[in-house]
């Protein structure tokens, strides 16, 4: 009953005041996950370029931002959604919370690296890009005598055991893209094998993207898999950290989109236009922001050592990336990673450590049986509960969307996958320990 009266009040309210609510004002409201270091320079530059317009920046993490826009759609007060994670924009688009707008900018190519810059239907546009790489704390590396890593595969080496951190792909849209790139580049089975070998060395799997650079900066972990600008802005703040792009890296765009029913639609479009205009693109070059412009011409104004994905083929261009494949299995990949790695990290690490020890022993004293056992152990670790086809099947995808159709519930799948992984990690550990005994 109470809900009804509230709803009724809402209806009356909307009927009475809808005219006023959508009136134009000089305020553009932006919901963003970007930090002050990024938003402040843009706010200044945009307000200078558009006198009389104020940019009202509301900082929320991406999840909170999406939920906020979703919950307030009945009486929307937000003009622009501005964030990194493309998956957040996909969700907004899927729920009809964005409106189409193709920015009036020239000279912006279709793709950066192998990733399309703009949404093909123009619901959101890329305004900057960033590459994934490895960041490490120099003092930490020296104290623990860690060699400098060069490539993803390096992170699977025993020397880095318990020294690496990454954000969970289910929590960080950009990490998700990196995982997806590895899966597409190496193939489903080999890709997961690599991922699990690297993950076996993890110290932490954080639930915030920024948790990784934070941990590396303060020296709590040695190495982190991060987006480049985290490393660059940390360096700019004086932290003793270094960064490297692996030979194969993903380039992921950061996006902006106009919210459906934006109270200040014209202002919102002006802001999107500004972001992709040459003036807006140059703001990206500031040391505290340091993201890669999507307009190739702007790189002419960048410092000499600035990475340029339009010239440097190792930055994303070598990677294949199929957006359709990725979209179909987004949730499945996230949940698979969480259930087989994030929540089973202890068992995975125990198995990994046992394998490392056994291999070290075999390297000293060769033993064919031990080698066979180690191979079995590695295969057990790499095994996945579902095949590539199954992962993108409608049955599994349907379990995560809470859709209308009946089918497997997410909790059922999760329990099945987790049990599968845990059992195999324990077997792998046992086999590796057996191998160690043989090789002694």
């Amino acid at each position: 009953m109470l809900r009804h009266s509230v709803a009724a009040a809402a209806l009356i309210g909307t009927a009475l005041f809808s005219g006023v609510a959508f009136a134009q004002s000089g305020k553009v409201t932006v919901v963003t996950s970007f930090s002050k270091d990024v938003t402040d320079p843009f706010k200044q530059a945009f307000e200078k370029a558009h006198p009389g317009v104020t940019l009202d920046v509301q900082n929320r993490n991406t999840n909170a931002g999406v939920k906020f826009v979703e919950e307030t759609k009945a009486n929307n007060q937000v003009d622009v959604f501005w964030a990194s994670a493309p998956d957040a924009f996909e969700v907004l688009k899927g729920k009809g919370l964005l409106q189409k707008y193709a920015p009036k900018a020239e000279g912006i190519p279709d793709k950066i690296g192998s990733y399309p810059i703009n949404d093909p239907e123009n619901f959101y546009s890329g305004f900057a890009a960033s590459g994934y790489g490895i960041m490490w704390n120099d003092r930490y590396a020296k104290a623990n005598k860690l060699p400098e890593p060069k490539d993803w595969q390096d992170l699977a080496k025993p020397v880095y055991f318990d020294h690496v951190a990454m954000a969970a792909p289910s929590r960080s849209g950009t990490t998700h893209l990196t995982i997806e790139t590895i899966l597409q580049g190496e193939g489903w089975d080999k890709g997961w094998r690599t991922l699990k070998e690297v993950s076996g060395n993890f110290r932490q799997i954080t639930e915030r993207s920024f948790g990784v650079p934070e941990a590396v900066n303060s020296g709590q972990v040695g190495l982190g898999i991060v987006i480049d600008f985290f490393a660059f802005s940390s360096q700019a703040s004086g932290f003793p950290v270094k960064f490297v792009y692996p030979t194969i890296t993903t380039i992921v765009p950061a996006n902006v989109g106009v919210i459906a029913n934006a109270p200040n639609k014209a202002g919102a479009e002006a802001f999107v236009d500004y972001l992709v205009s040459p003036a807006g693109q140059e703001v990206l070059l500031e040391p505290s922001i340091r993201r890669l412009p999507v307009n190739p011409a702007v790189y002419a104004k960048a410092p000499a050592d600035y990475p340029n994905p339009f010239k440097d083929p190792s930055l994303g261009a070598r990677v294949k990336f199929d957006v359709d494949v990725s979209e179909k299995r987004t949730n499945a990949v996230d949940v698979l990673y969480d259930q087989t790695v994030t929540f089973q990290l202890e068992a995975l690490k125990a198995a990994t450590k046992a394998i490392h020890d056994a291999e070290a022993a075999v390297a000293k004293k060769d033993n064919a049986d031990a080698k066979a056992l180690i191979k079995e152990a590695r295969d057990l670790v790499a095994a996945m509960p579902v095949t590539e086809q199954e992962a993108s099947s409608p049955e599994i995808a349907g379990a995560f969307t809470g859709g209308k159709e009946k089918g497997a519930r997410q909790a059922e799948l999760e329990q099945k996958w987790a049990a599968f992984a845990k059992e195999r990690y324990q077997q792998a550990q046992a086999k590796a320990e057996q191998a160690l005994k043989l090789a002694r």
Binding site: A10, K36, A64, K67, T72, S218, A236, S237, G402, A418
Partner: protein, 580 residues
Amino acid sequence: MADATIAGRTRAPSAPSGYFKRLSASPGQIALAFGIALFLLLFLVVPVGTVIYVAFTEKGTGEFTLVNFLDFARTDLFIRSFWNSVYVSAMSVVVASVLALPLAYITTRFEFRGAMLIQTLGFLPLIMPPFVGAVAMLLLFGRNGTVNLLLDDWLGLKIPFMEGLNGVIFVQAVHYFPFILINLSAALRNIDRAMEEAAQNLGSSGFRLFRRIVFPLAMPGYIAGASLVFVKVFDDLATPLLLNVKDMLAPQAYLRVTSIGIADPMGYVISVVLICMSILAMWVSARAMRGKDYATVQRGGGGLAKRRMRPWESAIAYGVVLLILFLVLAPHIGLLLLSFATVWSFSPLPDAFTLAHYGRVFGESFVYVKNTMIYASIAGLIDVVLGTAIAYLVLRTKLIGREWLDWAATAALAIPGVVLGIGYLRTFYGVQLPDGTPLAALWIMIVLALAIRRLPYALRACYAALQQISVSLEEAAENLGATKLRTIRRIVLPLMGGGILAGFVTSFATAAVELSATLMLVQSNADAPLAYGLYVFMQSAAGRGPGAALGVIAVLLVALCTFASHVIIEKSQKAKAAGR
């Protein structure tokens, strides 16, 4: 045991008091109960209900089902998380008690210089600003924090303070022990001195006196604090997540509720389990107190007799107090260092010091400080008013279902802030004000959310305070012709004073640094509190220093208010003692 020692004096009126008015409820009390019920319904039950009803719906059809709870019981991860949460909460209570008991006892029982300062400092850990507090703690106690780097240098070993479940217990105990300290201290101050004197006359002294008389009499305060610690630790998600412990219930709920694009009921199922467990814990603690009467008649004597310590006692006492304070204030020392540090990375101390961070936040912190003060004090006021009223209704009337007010308010502890925030948006955003702005966009909604979230703290403090007051005092006043209202105003409230203030301070201080619901509800920078400003800074490497500076400002602000209220307590008690 407690009965035996206390009942002789305080239970006396129990037989003839059967006909006294506490059995019935006046129309005024019924109206009050309805008012509170309506408030809780509107600002807690309905908003939360709109979010967590999903836990009871079937996938696909949306029909009512309990299958999701079956899934919960069948999933290893959830069961493991459940037991981990129970273990961590119970152990945190134990460790927090070890920290709190000496501080509370020494400062209330002895003539101790700086007792007020210690009470204030001992309270600070509760005010751990989000994010920065965690960073500071890691920089000191983490695997490569100050302590471990030095230990590694000198002795070649590291102590895993912050690893796994034990790490969570350590941090939670340090963070939440003030709940026990503040409630226990308030209770100790309220103890009838005559009880102690009687025991002494009968030959009891020292530890025996404490164990058999003083501590049992202070039991309501201790239970109030301990149950809060248990429930708070059980429902807290920030600390486990900061330590990357994910297999506990509250973090599991949070991770699921905040995943983008996945419509999974399990997050809400876990929320329901959290709420049930919190209510269960409160019920058990109320049960444990049942059949025991902790009220004493004689009041206002300034509590326990304060003894002067012999020099060697004094030395030990100072040693213990300083050691505990150093341990529990370490995060704040770290925070202070961080706010002055240029770069602090993999080293025992920062590389160099600077004032620049304070310069950067100086200009903008004013609006944050102002908002925080306004929000937190209104929320605190709402909380003590509701807390006192609910405690009175539960303890002094026989209204049917009165415990439900208590339990509903307590359930707020278990509701993740983000769930409450979403619920508020869902319930109130559709309601528009005459100028077209949504109701949920008003800052008053942030205040209400804060008040609801911190109500359990104030409630427990008020509840414990009222439990220590003998009904016979009210009965005496009413027999002398005072009306119920007048009795409450002139007798009950003044006697509850210390507890009410304790409740206000706890609610106020913790509301001042709350973030999760705030982050959902803040609509513009001009309305934002300190915690939000801090959040905005703590998303980038360059923002760590300024974030820490804002954190220090928040802590100082709350500490000043806390200190002021301790001064007020002391003064009022001295005044009472003098007037006796």
